[in-house]
């Protein structure tokens, strides 16, 4: 009897876990390892705004019971950062200096919040929201009824913003081209959507650009955002919300093609025969559009994971992104986005 095939999934989000479940369904005997940089088992990032509704214990937002990993015979490797993948030797090297062999690799490493380079000096003064830890930290930084200055306002940020408004906080939104990311907004639609934001209770500040973030003056709110015109905005927390960029640096030496994300064909296969990619990390070739494109949102990402997993186990399925990707205003005048549905 030969060794069981080792399927390795890098990434512990919707795509990775969807893929793991699918792999296990289709191959009860294979080895499955999920690798993540995070400290926690799988939870939905989309659930994080719940932190502001009193959910302070990570155990409440886990998707699976902890016994799931044993039951499904899935190895979960946390706090494990991959530094290198060697597609030729089929090995993965971790930051902690361990090397692991894989037979097939599925990269579902997702994306990280983009921070424009001109603001990169001020990273330390801004809060994030991409993990449970970051969410709790943000929660603790916001005094009751305090205000958050949100820069950009992608759909992830706006989801948080509506929870904040709901729970008695103030949100000041500095809009720019990333507002409503990843939705593409036509120029003529924009005003309507901005009004919908105002209708939600968000204080929208349009047409100015932040040039610096600084500590607040004693006795005032903790942060100041300096604007290009010279003015400034005060708030307790500053959160950049400029959409996601793929987390693919660790794949640079692997031999697979990367542009902004990992380049895959419609079957989510990379240019290495043993490596697939799914989720926010990949740019998928679209034959219709004749270009590579990203697909976002929980539904797309989960589906990508499943499709990739099926293809890893021998299928030849093409990923088709969900059709309805438009931002809308519902009959109550509220924003509605497929990105928020899961």
């Amino acid at each position: 009897m030969g060794e069981a095939i080792h399927n390795v999934i890098i990434g512990n989000g919707s795509a990775g876990n969807g893929a793991a479940a699918t792999l296990r369904e289709r191959d009860p005997d294979c080895r499955i390892t999920i690798i993540t940089m995070g400290s926690l088992p799988f939870y939905n990032r989309y659930d994080l705004p719940r932190v502001f509704r009193g959910c302070y214990d990570w155990r409440e937002i886990l998707v699976h019971p902890l016994s799931y990993y044993d039951d499904q015979n899935i190895t979960l490797r946390r706090n494990s950062r991959v530094t290198d993948v060697d597609g030729r030797k089929r090995t993965i090297t971790f930051a902690h200096n361990e090397t692991m062999h894989y037979d097939r690799l599925l990269v579902c490493a997702g994306g990280q919040g983009y921070l424009p380079e001109e603001l990169s000096d001020y990273r330390g003064l801004m809060n994030g929201f991409n993990s449970f830890e970051a969410a709790i930290t943000t929660y603790k930084a916001l005094p009751a009824g305090g205000s958050m200055i949100m820069l950009g306002g992608d759909m992830i940020g706006l989801d948080l913003a509506r929870t904040l408004i709901d729970t008695g906080y103030k949100v000041l939104l500095l809009t720019n081209e990333y507002t409503f990311w990843p939705h593409r907004i036509a120029d003529d639609e924009r005003e309507g959507f901005i009004n919908a934001l105002k209708h939600m209770g968000i204080e929208v500040i349009d047409g100015v650009h932040p040039v610096a973030v600084e500590e607040g003056i004693a006795g005032k709110p903790a942060r100041r955002v300096v604007l290009d015109g010279g003015g400034e905005i005060l708030g307790d927390v500053v959160m950049p919300s400029y959409g996601l960029v793929p987390t693919a640096e660790f794949m640079l030496g692997s031999g697979v093609d990367i542009e902004r994300g990992m380049l895959v064909d419609p079957m989510l296969h990379t240019t290495d025969e043993n490596i697939w990619a799914a989720g926010d990390v990949c740019q998928i070739w679209s034959a219709e559009d004749n270009t590579y494109r990203f697909y976002y949102g929980w539904n797309n990402v989960r589906l990508m994971g499943e499709v990739a997993a099926r293809n890893v186990t021998g299928a030849n399925e093409t990923f088709k992104g969900l059709d309805d990707e438009r931002l809308r205003i519902d009959k109550n005048g509220h924003l509605a986005s497929p990105f928020w549905e899961y």
Partner: protein, 469 residues
């Protein structure tokens, strides 16, 4: 009439600085430059001349300036130089912009015929010469090298609202440093990948209003280590712009050669070891051979070729490169040096840079920073080695090693070129043939040297030296 005779004349190169602030560590920019003949006798003649006394300076001349090489009228053809001199070295660089290949449409023969289109090299050279340059609101740059980035950043300073660099492959594969890309992005420049310009879009006034690109996919690796990009048929799309700066490469100019030299497929002169071209007595060096590289490699190549010429002239090799190994008394580094972070090059704030062409972006290391940064050097020319004959295999060195740098070895992989690959480690005592320092991992902290009970660890300095034969 006073005649001076100078047997060892020289050329004085003089660079003028704005103010004499030498001594402080900062970047000094030359404001003036001059070349003057010099040497004692010449100087006397010069002074006499300035004082109005007729004088003639007689001196030995080895070189010539002001000679225009070429085949036209008043120019000296290469054939003439060959006749006058034993050896001729061609080092005229890569000073021509590579032409933008377009599929069709206006400007196919000469893109610069369209208003708003320029070659980046010319754009920068003209600017450097003091010409007033203008760019539109939306600037597109095509190309992926330092020139492209320079063009983009200059365009931004000249007031462009939106500057985009369009590259054929992806950011990860282009031959510029990460810092350069980061600084460009900080200045608001965008980089868009996987696209090749195929047509220039021109309005009724003959002015550029956009570029049509084809979507690319990545191809294999080229010989020079770059990625290939392959345009996908039928994938064309348009990006609006009013200025296009083309910086897709530079090439050599060699149409001035009347002697037929063998060229490579990029049109550069082929040069063998020692800079020899296909014609005896004609040598070539630097970017003229290799295409655009860096100053460092050009100078290095120049030195190499000089030796080659000497060899050829004298009919024998008079110098050779050797490895010199000499003992070093003790470690020259401390472990603490390893924790010094890379010192970021201080840069001017974005506000200072904006709109100014004269603002030096990299302001240079202070003396202190420079000292700190230099401590990070791993002193790779130092080699730590265990004398196997005196080693008692006690592993005291391994115990103190800060890295995975000292190993129990049973074998060593020897690569085809004779260098060492991986050390084959073992934990089997009866397989341990040696305890060995892996110089690939060694950070020369000296910890092992200090602790060895039989003092069997030696430190040597290993350097390339040029030796007269």
């Amino acid at each position: 009439m006073i005649v001076t005779v100078t047997l060892n004349p020289s050329l004085d190169l003089t660079y003028g600085l704005e103010e004499s602030a030498l001594g402080e560590v900062e970047v000094h920019r030359a404001r003036t430059a001059s070349v003057e003949a010099s040497g004692k006798g010449v100087n006397v003649s010069l002074t006499l001349h300035r004082a109005g006394t007729p004088t003639v300076a007689v001196l030995l001349l080895a070189g010539r300036t002001g000679v225009e090489i070429g085949n036209g009228p008043g120019q000296t053809p290469l054939a003439r130089l060959r006749k006058d001199y034993d050896a001729v070295l061609l080092s005229t660089g890569s000073m021509a912009a590579v032409k933008l290949p377009l599929k069709e449409g206006e400007g196919r023969d000469d893109p610069t015929s369209i208003k708003g289109v320029e070659y980046g090299l010319n754009f920068l050279m003209e600017l450097h010469r003091g010409e007033k340059k203008k760019v539109g609101k939306r600037v597109a740059v095509v190309g992926a090298g330092f020139t492209a980035l320079d063009c983009a950043r200059v365009a931004k300073r000249l007031g462009a609202e939106e500057v985009t660099i369009h590259i054929r492959t992806a950011e990860e594969y282009i031959p510029v440093t990460k810092d350069e890309i980061f600084e460009a992005k900080r200045e608001g420049i965008r980089i868009k990948g996987l696209r090749t310009p195929v047509e220039l879009l021109v309005d009724e006034n003959g002015a550029l209003h956009g570029v049509e690109f084809a979507q690319n996919r990545l191809g294999g690796w080229r010989d020079n280590g770059r990625r290939q990009a392959i345009a996908i048929e039928g994938s064309e799309f348009t990006e609006p712009c009013d200025t296009l700066l083309i910086a897709i490469g530079q090439r050599t100019i060699n149409d001035y050669l009347d002697v037929k030299l063998e060229l490579d497929r990029w049109g550069s002169v082929k040069a063998a070891e020692g800079g020899k071209t296909s014609v005896d007595g004609v040598f070539a060096a630097g970017d003229f051979v290799s295409g655009p590289t860096t100053i460092i490699s050009a100078i290095g190549n120049g030195r190499h070729v000089a030796n080659g010429i000497d060899h050829w002239l004298m009919g024998r090799q008079r110098r050779r490169q050797m490895v010199r190994i000499e003992p070093v008394e003790g470690p020259l580094r401390e472990r603490a040096f390893d924790f010094i972070e890379s010192q970021h090059m201080p840069t001017a704030t974005l506000a200072k840079r904006a709109g100014k062409l004269t603002c030096e972006v990299e302001t240079g290391y202070s003396e202190e920073l420079a000292g700190t940064e230099s401590k990070r050097c791993y002193l790779c020319n130092l080699k730590y080695q265990i004398d196997v004959d005196n080693c008692i295999y006690c592993r005291a060195c391994i115990e103190v090693a800060p890295k995975n740098c000292i190993k129990l070895v049973e074998g060593v992989e020897i690569r085809e070129d004779g260098t060492y690959g991986e050390l084959q480690e073992t934990r089997q005592w009866d397989e341990v043939g040696a305890i060995w320092i892996d110089n690939n991992e060694c950070i020369r902290c000296g910890a092992c040297f200090m602790v060895c009970p039989t003092k069997c660890i030696s430190i040597t300095r290993n350097e390339f030296v040029t030796q007269d034969l």
